[in-house]
């Protein structure tokens, strides 16, 4: 709690509070980051589930840098927005739900990365993705939808 209050008292937080355009700008950039992150993840997950089969899976996995760039943009803009209102967001259960979903999505992505490294050569160019990978892809879609939902709900609790 003291840490949160300290965050809110930093010059960065002060600048965001006094500025008329900063928060709106961060929030807008957060949306563009969201579109890059979730837009690319969704394309990859849906392709793993069998959608858009005319696009080769290995090339679709090449979209992962977009996921990372979107993620980094949102970590930065998200942290700035958090600092501005740290004591309130720090106590917000929807914020912690969002962080939980993100952590789970991260673990899930790690499982996927390990699976591609260990068994990928068997199925990356195959007609059908293994059922276990489809489960991972479905979980990924569900968890990111959870991140977005909890993120939006934060403003209402």
């Amino acid at each position: 709690m003291e840490f949160l209050a300290w965050l809110e008292s930093t010059p960065i937080a002060g600048a965001i509070t006094t500025s008329v355009w900063m928060y709106a700008t961060f929030e807008t950039i957060h949306y563009i980051g969201l579109a890059m992150l979730v837009g690319s993840i969704m394309l990859i997950d849906l392709r793993l589930l069998g959608f858009a089969r005319s696009l080769p899976l290995p090339s679709m996995l090449g979209l992962l840098p977009w996921v990372w760039v979107g993620f980094l943009i949102n970590v930065v803009t998200g942290s700035l927005m958090f600092i501005y209102n740290a004591t309130s967001f720090g106590m917000n259960r929807m914020f912690w739900l969002k962080m939980t979903f993100m952590a789970l999505a991260g673990i899930n992505a790690l499982v996927f990365t390990v699976a591609v490294a260990r068994t990928g050569e068997r199925w990356l160019t195959a007609a059908e993705t293994p059922a276990a990978i489809k489960v991972v892809a479905t979980l990924s879609l569900a968890l990111w939808l959870g991140v977005m939902t909890a993120g939006r709900w934060m403003a209402y609790v």
Partner: protein, 157 residues
């Protein structure tokens, strides 16, 4: 104006404005639809511009159902959000800019689809001409612009 006043006085509009979960739910759906639309059209337009040439150009047509689903979700959720405060939204310049950008993006998409995907049977679509690439670039500008304007409605007169 009479129509807008009537619209925001309907039982549906009142429910959207006053039910505790309706507004955040519609906003979450709107963000999800945006990610679907920008993800699918973003990749298609970037491919037309020469990104990831290993993806078959005509194969990007497989992404259009996702773009349409995103568009439909956003037309429906956007309309529902609009009714909750119709007079305010209608008189917002940022909202008008957003709608104008969507209209431009729509006309552009029809021309673009006609030029890129209407090819003789057996053709791989060839390489997009400079004119088509301009349209693809414009498409990205219009859609991202619509997303930015949309987020800024809450912050501008």
């Amino acid at each position: 104006m009479d129509f807008l006043a009537w619209l925001q006085s309907t039982a549906f509009a009142t429910a959207v404005a006053e039910t505790i979960w309706a507004y955040p739910l519609l906003e979450t759906l709107h963000a999800l639809g945006m990610a679907m639309l920008l993800g699918a059209l973003g990749l298609t337009n970037l491919r037309i511009l020469g990104y990831k040439p290993e993806l078959p150009l005509l194969g990007t047509q497989d992404l259009l159902p996702l773009a349409w689903l995103g568009f439909t979700i956003n037309a429906a959720s956007g309309l529902a959000l609009f009714t909750s405060d119709a007079i305010y939204f209608f008189s917002s310049y940022t909202f008008r800019i957003k709608i104008a950008l969507i209209a431009l993006a729509g006309v552009n998409a029809v021309i673009l689809a006609h030029k890129v995907f209407r090819v003789p049977a057996g053709s791989d679509g060839g390489s997009p001409t400079a004119g088509v690439k301009w349209l693809a670039g414009l498409s990205l500008v219009f859609w991202v612009g619509a997303a930015i304007a949309g987020r800024l409605i809450a912050y501008t007169p």
